[in-house]
């Protein structure tokens, strides 16, 4: 869809303000009632999903141009989808997240990008990664000595896809290595793409760089197909979303699992057994792209059909992505299975979780905004009294590591695999 195709949504938005809050039925306090980092930080209505509909309409109508402020506004969205979830509590015919990303793509098409985005996209094109300055030549260094099968040379049951963050970030590489060891010790026949392992480019899509995403995705799909991959397991929530939702649209037909789903399954099958107590109280942060954006892709082609004069429906029935069926239980099952560990929940969880701030490439393009967003979550985590915040995404973890809460306090941030390893 092009931006102009969203005009019916722009004109059918009811300006109701729901997009600025978590679902109202779930509000437990004024402190943690809001859902959108963008309007939360910048405050102007323009930054809300409603504001973005209206901004786009004024651009299409020629009343607004893509000036510097407008460009920054458009890109100051973490593409977390929180607005989308709340909007759809009551609406069946609006797609705020899809629109927000399309508006970014419109700006990109018109050459309006942020300085911080340039090195990210340039490195995607040059080195096949969205980590600035990282080199393709070093991408699989993290996997040395792990005895991972190269799927272009031998067959394996499962393709492990670490993703850029785990591959290059020295703070996080050990988690990827431990994940591989964990799966191997559970008897999983594991391989990887070896030299053909490249960035999923899912974040390029979130940032509105559609052409760059399509190029990377099509190359990666060919690599998966050529190597005969049947199941992809990834510890990165962004990669998970890219493969499961975005690649599926482009024709990728493989099973995609996040590591939490796979480990949960292995625990249930008795292939992972915990032997040590981990006496901690933790709280779990739902990554947006694993939770509300982690639903299965359902192919659909159809058109709007009005019934009873003016009631909007779709023919055939259109799939509805509203976060209802994201991956929420698997990580909680794992945490609850760890002896001695106590899970306490934050106020904003599951489909209405607050974003970590790294989404949409905002950690590089709008670092202050991104860190404020992370700080808000650390405040919420600290309010639970937990010893640590656990997550299942390297982008979330990395963004939380430097964040402080409203009182200047930090919190220990753990990847869920780190806890699993501690308990074994």
């Amino acid at each position: 869809m092009a931006l102009k195709d969203f005009r019916p949504m722009m004109e059918r938005c009811s300006t109701c303000t729901h997009c600025k809050f978590i679902p109202f039925d779930k509000i437990k306090s004024i402190r943690f009632a809001e859902n959108c980092p963008s309007i939360g930080y910048y405050n102007f209505n323009t930054y809300s999903a409603r504001g973005r509909f209206q901004l786009a309409q004024s651009i299409l109508d020629g009343r607004t141009d893509l000036n510097e402020t407008v460009t920054e506004t458009i890109h100051s969205c973490t593409s977390c989808g929180a607005c989308d979830v709340t909007c759809k509590v009551c609406r069946y015919n609006l797609e705020p997240l899809e629109h927000n990303i399309e508006l970014k793509a419109y700006a990109v098409e018109n050459g309006k990008v942020l300085e911080g985005q340039k090195p990210v996209i340039e490195n995607l094109k040059k080195e096949n990664t969205m980590i600035p300055k990282a080199k393709k030549a070093n991408r699989i260094d993290w996997a040395k000595d792990l005895n991972l099968k190269d799927l272009f040379k031998e067959k394996a049951e499962v393709c492990f896809f670490a993703g850029c963050k785990y591959s290059y970030d020295e703070k996080l590489q050990k988690i990827a290595q431990n994940t591989v060891k964990l799966l191997q010790s559970a008897g999983v026949d594991l391989g990887y793409l070896g030299a053909a392992d490249n960035c999923c480019a899912g974040r390029a899509k979130q940032m509105g760089f559609f052409e760059e995403f399509d190029n990377s995705a099509n190359n990666n799909i060919k690599a998966f197909q050529k190597s005969g991959v049947k199941t992809i397991v990834t510890p990165c929530s962004d990669c998970y979303h890219a493969f499961k939702r975005q690649y599926a649209k482009l024709g990728l037909e493989v099973e995609v699992l996040h590591i939490v789903e796979y480990v949960d399954k292995l625990i249930q099958e008795g292939k992972i057994k915990f032997t040590k107590s981990v006496p901690m109280t933790v709280t779990y942060h739902d990554p947006c792209h694993l939770g509300r954006l982690g639903e299965d892709y359902i192919p659909w082609e159809g058109k709007e059909k009005k019934i009873l004069n003016q009631i909007h429906t779709w023919e055939p029935r259109r799939p509805r992505y509203n976060g209802a069926y994201g991956i929420y239980d698997a990580p909680r099952n794992i945490l609850e299975a760890i002896p001695g560990l106590k899970l306490v929940e934050m106020e904003r969880i599951r489909e209405y979780s607050w974003c970590c701030g790294a989404g949409g490439g905002c950690n590089v393009s709008n670092p202050e905004f991104s860190q404020w967003t992370a700080g808000e979550r650390v405040t919420e985590a600290n309010a639970t009294g937990a010893d640590a915040m656990v997550t299942a995404c390297p982008w979330c973890k990395d963004n939380f590591l430097d964040a402080v809460d409203e009182n200047g306090n930090k919190i220990e941030v753990l990847d869920i695999i780190e806890l699993v390893r501690q308990a074994m």
Partner: protein, 553 residues
């Protein structure tokens, strides 16, 4: 005329660079188009004027300083919070928009049963904080996304719980009010340094001037903080929600019950409402789900309580014999919630409901007694968090007719209104065909009962201009009915005499022409005098209905 650099700099000095913008993209998002969401203004394809700047004050002092600048340079200003309704937007070209989003504190005074709130504290957050200490507030029918301050100090503000808690005029206590001339007036007990607990005094008793029955809709300066009366909440500290989005439900325990009461005819219906007014047993009384239309409500309830259903399931559901049966059962209905403060209180209230049904020949709808349906409806009515379902069918709606008043008068003509709407649904395709009767509203808009506030939900497509224009014709036609039966302006034209359909303010001369012929013109002349005192430069738009005193007959 753009703001001069001197003025802009003066405003920026007040709030800081980060909290003011004159960027075209930002300002464009502070315009309202009444075809999408107007609230009592009617569909219109005109945008409200573009503000010269948007400014976000963070304190009463900043509001005061902004208003002083506006007075100095003759700039119109209007404050708003959630930016839902057209009444929150400016009405002239030389104007600035105040976005009150940065001011959102909630302070609960348990002892005095009050909440002291700032503008961007929406009702859901005020309720969440109040529930923690066993208290609750009247949430207006528009839903919990509304600003408690704006609806309490600035608009009608009646809702499902008004029968127990009263409406906004009854719930406003002390206020911190920045007058349109920049002075701060602390009303009621606050004005004498005695805290927020009372709206009448000791101290200036100005509630009638500040808001009256309907409120000035932002035309009398800016309230930066008010106290609202809280009421008993015999429930848990937060809603124990369950279920898959969007079909959230809550099991509230044995001391909360939600019933859909149904009646064989309107006479019985009205008698039951009267008995409830007299018996004082309801926590909530509201004709809620008929907003989906008499023909669709059972099917719509099935859709919105099932996360896997969509509007495309309507045709199949409407053929279902069970759905038809339930629709017939609920044809003349309303919802109630009873809340037991004690076990005995709950027993008494259950008995009272049953007795009223026995005396009026009514019954409880069985579909609405199903566990999931009950828990959905109960949560819906207690929090009003699904109120945007108002828009679910087409994306836009207007409340039409407006049969507000004595229930015995209302029921005499309600079926005539139903027929007018149903004929329009059949003969034209501008509005959704939902069954004529889509009358939604409180069984009482006053504490204790006595006055209904109904609107017929009329759903149309704001993107389809034929639908918008057809809806306007339908509404204009309804006015004949309204006038004939003495109900005044159609519900969605309530604000048509305070803002032109092109989005601009009325001039005083235009208002004089309108209000000199009003039934009680001196009321408007009195309001003119008040405005002269507190708003000498007339800078807050034309939502305050005024008549030049010399023009009063």
């Amino acid at each position: 005329m753009a703001l001069s650099r001197e003025i802009y700099q003066a405003l920026e000095d007040i709030v800081g660079k980060r909290n003011i913008s004159e960027d075209i993209g930002v300002c464009e998002t502070y315009r309202s188009i009444p075809s999408q969401s107007s609230a009592h203004y009617g569909p219109s394809e005109h945008w409200t004027p573009l503000p010269q700047a948007v400014i976000m004050p963070g304190s009463t002092e900043e509001v005061q300083n902004i208003i002083r600048i506006c007075n100095k340079y003759g700039i119109e200003f209007k404050a708003s919070t959630t930016f839902w309704a057209t009444m929150g937007y400016i009405g002239s070209d030389y104007a600035i928009q105040l976005d009150m989003r940065r001011m959102k504190s909630v302070e609960i005074d348990v002892k005095n049963m009050t909440a002291i709130v700032e503008p961007f504290a929406v009702a859901a957050t005020v309720q969440a904080e109040a529930m923690k200490v066993g208290l609750n507030l009247n949430i207006p029918g528009v839903g919990c996304s509304s600003s408690t301050l704006a609806s309490t100090a600035g608009w009608a503000g009646f809702g499902p719980a008004s029968i127990f808690m009263g409406a906004s005029p009854e719930n406003l206590l002390s206020a911190e009010w920045v007058l349109p001339n920049g002075e701060v007036l602390r009303t009621g007990s606050l004005g004498s340094g005695d805290g927020w607990f009372c709206g009448e005094g000791p101290g200036p008793s100005t509630r009638g001037i500040l808001r009256g029955i309907f409120g000035p809709a932002g035309s009398m300066g800016v309230c930066t903080k008010i106290a609202v009366r809280l009421h008993p909440w015999p429930g848990p500290a937060d809603f124990p929600t369950r279920g898959t989005i969007p079909a959230y439900k809550a099991d509230m325990g044995d001391n909360f019950k939600c019933y859909t009461l149904c009646f064989p005819d309107w006479q019985s219906w009205a008698r039951s409402v009267q008995y409830f007014h007299e018996s004082d047993v309801l926590y909530i009384g509201h004709r809620q789900f008929t907003m989906f239309g008499r023909n669709l409500k059972a099917a719509m309830l099935r859709i919105i309580t099932d996360p896997d259903k969509q509007l495309c399931d309507l045709p199949t559901l409407l053929e279902d014999e069970e759905i038809k049966k339930q629709n017939e059962s609920m044809k003349l209905d309303y919802q109630i919630v009873i809340a037991g403060m004690t076990e005995r209180d709950m027993e008494y209230k259950e008995k009272a409901v049953d007795e009223i049904l026995a005396q009026t020949g009514g019954w409880k709808n069985e579909m609405m007694l199903e566990k999931d349906m009950h828990d959905f409806a109960l949560l819906y009515l207690l929090r009003l968090g699904h109120k945007n379902l108002n828009y679910v069918m087409c994306g836009a709606y207007e409340g039409t007719f407006g049969l507000s008043g004595n229930v015995w008068k209302t029921i005499q003509v309600v079926e005539d209104a139903v027929k007018i709407k149903r004929d329009w649904e059949i003969n034209y395709d501008h509005i959704a065909a939902t069954g004529g009767d889509s009358a939604m509203g409180g069984t009482s808009a006053l504490g204790g009962g006595g006055w209904t506030g109904w609107e017929f939900f009329t759903n149309f497509d704001a993107y389809d201009k034929e639908s918008v224009r057809g809806t306007c014709k339908f509404i204009d036609g309804n006015q004949e009915f309204q006038t004939k039966h003495g109900f005044g302006p159609d519900f969605c034209r309530w604000n048509a005499d305070v803002r032109h359909m092109n989005g601009y303010n009325y001039t005083q001369e235009e208002h004089d022409e309108i209000f000199k012929n009003a039934p009680q013109p001196l009321v408007y002349a009195y309001q003119y005098k008040i405005r002269e005192v507190v708003n000498p430069n007339n800078l807050c738009g034309s939502y305050l209905r005024t008549l030049t005193p010399s023009k009063a007959k």
